[in-house]
Symmetry: C2
Subunit: 233 residues, 2 copies
């Protein structure tokens, strides 16, 4: 990882909000959200921490900014999707957008956490939702049903679902499996379920493939349900 500071001082790019945001995203991508501090951001960009405050009001603005950049990236990808949206076609169109958004987020694993923590919704997020509403409305949703749909999808609309625990994440870990077995008396159903699920599909814990399967199961459940409601009106 080379910082801008190291690349020789003869060509010194001036600071700017945009450059700060790009640098902040790189820091979070490389080292996680914890590693994004104002001091490190300054270092990455070859300046002192105090210089940042000339271009940005505070750290909150940095977080607002990187969230907006990521969602703008999502909008760019998603706007290139050209699918019919009328009638029953709404579902495929929405599904493809959501899965495309997810692909972008997989490159920025910190983004869901930042998006959730924003109190001011960025224009980029509003634009993303606006397009989704448009597709649903084309598909025959009333405004009211579209509104319910957005709430029901929640963060899934933007391509992520936070799980409180991954029931099969520890399946490969002997320690964790043993710990769970020792509690089989207290957790009979969980243990029973994991025994079968793991046995059926030993590859289900490799990488994020498993999450991808479950994510698609979840959105299809929701989209199918919404489609039935749409048809009933």
């Amino acid at each position: 990882m080379t910082t801008d500071a190291e690349q020789g001082s003869e060509l010194r790019i001036p600071l700017s909000r945009e450059r700060l945001l790009r640098a902040a995203i790189k820091i979070a991508d490389d080292g996680g959200l914890e590693s994004l501090t104002m001091r490190r951001l300054a270092e990455q960009v070859g300046a002192e921490a105090m210089s940042l405050y000339y271009h940005v009001a505070n750290k909150e603005e940095v977080l607002d900014g990187i969230a907006e950049v990521v969602v703008t990236e999502i909008n760019d990808v998603v706007d290139r999707i050209d699918l019919p949206t009328a009638g029953a076609d709404w579902k495929k169109a929405v599904r493809e957008r959501i899965l495309a958004a997810r692909q972008v987020l997989l490159r920025h694993p910190w983004a869901p956490r930042v998006l959730e923590s924003r109190t001011n919704t960025s224009l980029a997020v509003l634009r993303y939702y606006d397009a989704l509403i448009g597709i649903m409305h084309d598909g025959g949703f009333s405004w009211d049903l579209a509104h319910h749909a957005l709430h029901a999808l929640g963060s899934r609309a933007l391509g992520f679902a936070q799980e409180l625990f991954d029931p099969s994440s520890g399946a490969g870990d002997p320690d964790q499996t043993a710990a769970l077995q020792s509690m089989a008396g207290q957790l009979p159903n969980l243990v029973g379920m994991l025994a079968e699920v793991v046995h059926d599909d030993p590859d289900s814990t490799l990488g994020w493939c498993d999450d991808q399967t479950e994510f698609e199961f979840g959105i299809d459940l929701l989209l199918d349900g919404l489609d039935r409601m749409r048809e009933r009106t």
Copy 2:
């Protein structure tokens, strides 16, 4: 708000992990999660910050602990629910549990954030999920379908759904409404939807009633979908 420190030093309750966790929950309930610092926790409990480390390894353990306490509270409430679980009755039983869990979380608005940030799933959470799995299995779910169901419900299983933005939260705020109107050209569908949704139900933004309606819409959508899958096997 009185701290234990103020209540006269003649009766000085000794520190303990449990007392720290109770105090930490009080701090977070009263002042939000940001206000929960080790130094303030010590103050609340009438000790120096360094004393905490005798009873607790670090702040992470405090956060793990208060998450566990809240979910234990949920388990206590939920275990008192006595409903039939066989066959089609599974749905009502699960629904009531989830809504009861939600009631507990409404008293601890910081809890969802803490629960999401835990990397070690607490035993209390495992127990909660174990009971849910048991009900579904009684209701005729295969282990595999129960597994999918847990993922699909995600945090909703524990009673909360984080929204990235609340499309109608700013409906009562003239500033925000004006800002949105000025972007009507860019956000035609969002503006159109809000115009109708707000008009239809002017009370939809008061308190968390609105969220409650949408939360129930969301879980019913999921539970109904899952029920159809259950019947097909």
